[in-house]
């Protein structure tokens, strides 16, 4: 044993150098459909996805992000890019006005966009999901018996649906607003539900393939559109006043929400991850039963009887079957067919999805708190600015001048910043229907990794961004 710890991050073929990768990402991001928007929402146009191309050239996607940075701006950019790359394999048509969007349709599906996406995808996947190689590790000799015992132990203490993010919604200062923010986080996944699964429906792998297909048939409503799960979720969104067009709320997806959805694409697009996909599938079909029960209750509690909870109630029912089908009809037969050597990968997927769930839950809780005004951003302006002015804290400053209507598309800072308005008026958007107005002399702390954007509400606005690191150090 002469070398250090063996590399755990899987290599990928034909890696681009850091410079070549940066150039290819920038080229991908230069597509007209990925440019910044002058509006907060996309209007019935599934091809428009704001990537903040001005950031892309400054981000290093060639490295594996550590867990501490998995909600940072580089991760958010990578997840947005991956969402578009994966979805170029899917078919999207706007319900109306296609002729006016034909150019965007072509820009999104053309060969250049797809090829560039495929060039950068392996690096982005490594960048965004490489941390899982360290986060989850499977060791030892797994057998059918030990795997069965492991699953039985899990079944004795199954997820009870007591999600911190659901509690955060219910305890929010504005539960309806928080619930809408919560619901839109799932839109990227649920409005194209089970699309990643279809990737593994093709080919020929014996009886499990047909069992796999049965689950897909349920997800797709047996060909009856009104029962297709994505259609049920459209009804859910619309029943609480949300739009259901694909990626209408693109700018309001949290990085972790995209991470959750993209994880299944990452597993299914790369067929060497098939056994991990099995484990993740079994976890999701099992955990969703209680999750959906809790989500249905939360919806009723927040919105009353007007909320359409059919989507969630359907999953409470059907996932009882899917959970059983996944283990009895898929996982055990696949182990029988391929041998016990595949069990570690199944366990890995089962655990990785739980790890991502924890991250996504925490992220959403923090975002809801941020939308509710915690930490008290505006109140912190005075003491943090005083610490900067007195030299107690060294905070590099960037001064920006922007005209009326300028809209800073949503992103996150990698460290706490103090936003200070010198002149004019700025609107800082913290989430769906959540904002602060800052006038001259006012400001606020924007915590690290909190999604936000801004618009200028005066003829001109001059403001400063002070990178303070950890704002709490300014208070001591």
């Amino acid at each position: 044993m002469t070398s250090g710890r063996p590399p755990t991050h899987a290599p990928y073929p034909y890696p681009l150098s850091a410079d070549a990768l940066r150039e290819a990402v920038a080229q991908y991001g230069a597509n007209p459909v990925y440019q910044d928007s002058a509006e907060w929402f996309n209007e019935d146009n599934p091809y428009r996805r704001q990537m903040r191309p001005q950031d892309l050239g400054h981000l290093d996607f060639s490295r594996v992000l550590p867990a501490s940075e998995i909600l940072g701006n580089s991760a958010l950019a990578a997840q947005r890019l991956l969402t578009s790359i994966y979805e170029a394999d899917m078919m999207y048509l706007p319900p109306t006005g296609f002729a006016e969007k034909r150019e965007d349709f072509s820009a999104f599906y053309n060969a250049s966009n797809r090829t560039l996406g495929e060039m950068i995808r392996p690096a982005l996947e490594r960048h965004a999901y490489g941390f899982l190689d360290d986060e989850v590790h499977v060791t030892g000799k797994w057998t059918r018996d030990s795997f069965r015992s492991y699953l039985e132990a899990f079944a004795e203490n199954p997820p009870n649906g007591d999600s911190p993010s659901i509690r955060a919604v219910e305890n929010s200062r504005d539960p309806e607003r928080a619930a809408r923010m919560y619901l839109l986080q799932f839109a990227a996944d649920f409005l194209s539900e089970a699309s990643p699964m279809v990737r593994n429906a093709l080919g020929n792998y014996g009886n499990p393939q047909s069992e796999w297909f049965k689950i897909i048939i349920d997800e797709y409503g047996y060909g009856v559109h009104e029962t297709k799960h994505s259609r049920l979720y459209e009804n859910t969104l619309e029943s609480v006043g949300l739009r259901s067009d694909v990626h209408h709320y693109w700018q309001f997806y949290l990085s972790s929400s995209l991470m959750m959805n993209n994880y299944f694409h990452f597993l299914a697009k790369n067929h060497e991850n098939f056994f991990r996909h099995l484990g993740a599938l079994y976890y999701t079909e099992t955990a969703l039963i209680e999750d959906c029960r809790s989500q249905s209750k939360m919806m009723r509690k927040v919105f009353g009887d007007s909320a359409d909870v059919t989507y969630f109630d359907e999953h409470v029912h059907i996932d009882t079957h899917h959970s059983r089908m996944a283990i009895d009809k898929l996982i055990w037969p696949v182990i029988e067919q391929c041998g016990e050597g595949v069990i570690p990968d199944i366990v890995r997927g089962f655990e990785e999805l739980q790890a991502i769930n924890v991250i996504a839950d925490r992220d959403l809780v923090d975002q809801i708190r941020w939308m509710d005004g915690e930490p008290a951003g505006k109140d912190l302006h005075g003491p943090v600015r005083a610490a900067i002015d007195s030299g107690t804290v060294t905070a590099p400053v960037t001064r920006v001048v922007e005209p009326r209507g300028k809209l800073t598309n949503t992103f996150v800072h990698d460290e706490d910043v103090l936003c200070h308005v010198v002149s004019g008026t700025m609107k800082v958007v913290c989430g769906l229907d959540s904002h602060h107005i800052l006038e001259a002399g006012q400001g606020m702390v924007i915590p690290r990794q909190r999604l936000h954007g801004a618009s200028i509400e005066s003829e001109e606005c001059v403001y400063e961004i002070n990178s303070v690191g950890d704002y709490r150090k300014c208070l001591s």
Binding site: G4, R5, V136, V138, T139, G140, K141, S146, S149, Q354
Partner: protein, 110 residues
């Protein structure tokens, strides 16, 4: 079989079954569940260091070398998520497991 979940670090980093202590080792050679008692005279393998350039842990009591190759390739089945490990022990599920603390040598916490 008995399934036990415990912490990889700090208080509660050791599970004791039938008097035998087990810790989770993260080494330069890989990760594995380590039976932390030397088979020679019961020395504290959780304090052992690797013999340079090998996968053999040297017991601090009598310098007896214990290979971890088998533990790496065919050891106790376990999965670590973050700082929690779940392992499946080939003993009856009714066996009582106790969670304790053992200090770990630097070679076991890479």
């Amino acid at each position: 079989m008995l399934v036990v979940t415990w912490e990889t670090d700090g208080i509660g980093n050791c599970v004791v079954l039938a008097g035998k202590p087990y810790v989770y080792a993260r080494t330069t050679a890989g990760e594995f569940v380590l039976m932390a008692r030397c088979s020679h005279r019961g020395g504290p393998l959780h304090l052992a260091s690797f013999s340079p350039g090998t996968t053999r842990l040297v017991c601090p009591w009598h310098s007896r070398a214990t290979s971890v190759t088998k533990a790496l390739r065919a050891g106790i089945p376990a999965v670590r998520r973050g700082k929690r490990v779940t392992a499946v022990f080939d003993v009856p599920a009714t066996e009582k497991a106790e969670i304790e603390y053992r200090p770990l040598s630097p070679d076991l916490v890479c």
